[in-house]
């Protein structure tokens, strides 16, 4: 069980820099040399935003699955707060583009 939770923690911590990095790129503050030169100044913000969404969605979905495994049937019930998080996670995973759509966008930049 500990390893499952550690996997979730790793996924979240790997996704967080992508989210913050994409935000910095959107703010126009990114000044590193990107290997992709599809946009000006060597930074492809569209790709970075899509990568952030895919990673964050995967991490949150993993968290929801592991949480349900840990809690068991009580996690399904409306009485437990996990049900609020499960449904919202499932809805947001596909909001503003599914993982497949964002992966396709990333592929276009490679």
């Amino acid at each position: 069980m500990k390893h499952h939770l550690a996997d979730v923690a790793i996924a979240l911590e790997m996704a967080r820099p992508l989210v913050h990095g994409a935000a910095v790129g959107l703010d126009g503050n990114a000044h590193w040399e990107s290997p992709v030169s599809a946009t000006t100044e060597g930074v492809n913000v569209t790709r970075d935003v899509s990568a952030a969404k895919v990673a964050a969605a995967d991490a949150a979905y993993l968290a929801s699955r592991r949480s349900l495994q840990v809690l068991g049937a009580i996690g399904y019930t409306a009485e437990h707060d996990l049900s609020l998080y499960l449904t919202k996670t499932r809805a947001l995973v596909s909001a503003w583009g599914t993982a497949a759509q964002h992966r396709a966008l990333i592929l276009e930049t490679l």
């Binding site: 994409a22 899509s50 996990l82 919202k88």
Partner: protein
């Protein structure tokens, strides 16, 4: 660039967390499930009073003049709260669209605490969480107010989706920019949701990490 949060970000996160905690935490989402939207609308109003719904709006337009970096910090914290309604749209996509279109009155309404949602190509031209929110449609670079024509089932009762039709044209807006802000805010919300499910506290910048990053920069 710096991946570490500074004191401003930490204070911002604490402000959002305090608003959520004062509202009752997950009780806000639970109330929405049971048909009571008032607690969530109070949170949106308090977020606006703190300048959080206008983080990506320039000072000249009445916003906070911050940026996407600050917006993701706030959105992640709202993810922890599982705040119902159009969070990513109100913080990211809609203010971007309204500011670009020069829709000052509509932007003022949003900055005054009214949630807003938007249908665009990236959302399949469907508006999410339209209950008690202003609704907009961005199609072919043209932003307009919109009317809901039909609800669709959603796995999340606090974030239903709806078909919309255009009403009054407001101006032009960059579809790509709107989609990027909506997508990024959603990603940040998902991080917050995941962290809440794991039960981990917000990440706090630590000197050891900071030194590691600086060392890596020096070696490059």
């Amino acid at each position: 660039m710096d991946f570490l949060l500074n004191d401003i970000h930490t204070d911002l996160r604490a402000t959002v967390a305090a608003i959520g905690e004062k509202a009752g935490g997950s009780a806000v989402a639970r109330a929405w499930y049971e048909g009571d939207h008032a607690p969530a609308l109070t949170v949106y109003r308090q977020l606006a009073e703190s300048g959080i719904t206008g983080l990506i709006v320039d000072d000249e337009l009445g916003g906070s003049g911050a940026g996407a970096t600050e917006m993701v910090v706030a959105a992640e914290e709202l993810g922890r709260l599982a705040l119902p309604g159009p969070v990513a749209e109100t913080l990211g996509a809609v203010p971007t669209a309204l500011a670009a279109a020069g829709a000052g009155d509509a932007l003022d309404t949003l900055l005054g605490g009214r949630p807003a949602t938007i249908a665009a190509a990236s959302t399949g031209y469907r508006a999410a969480a339209h209950a008690d929110a202003d609704v907009y449609l961005l199609r072919d670079g043209s932003l307009s107010t919109a009317t809901v024509t039909g609800d669709r089932a959603s796995v999340d009762p606090t974030r239903t989706v709806a078909d919309v039709t255009a009403d009054v044209t407001l101006g032009a807006a960059d579809e790509s920019a709107v989609a990027q802000l909506g997508t990024l805010a959603t990603a940040a919300q998902l991080l917050g949701l995941g962290s809440a499910m794991l039960g981990s506290p917000p990440t706090t910048p630590r000197p050891a990490t900071s030194s590691a990053v600086r060392s890596a920069r020096t070696r490059q």
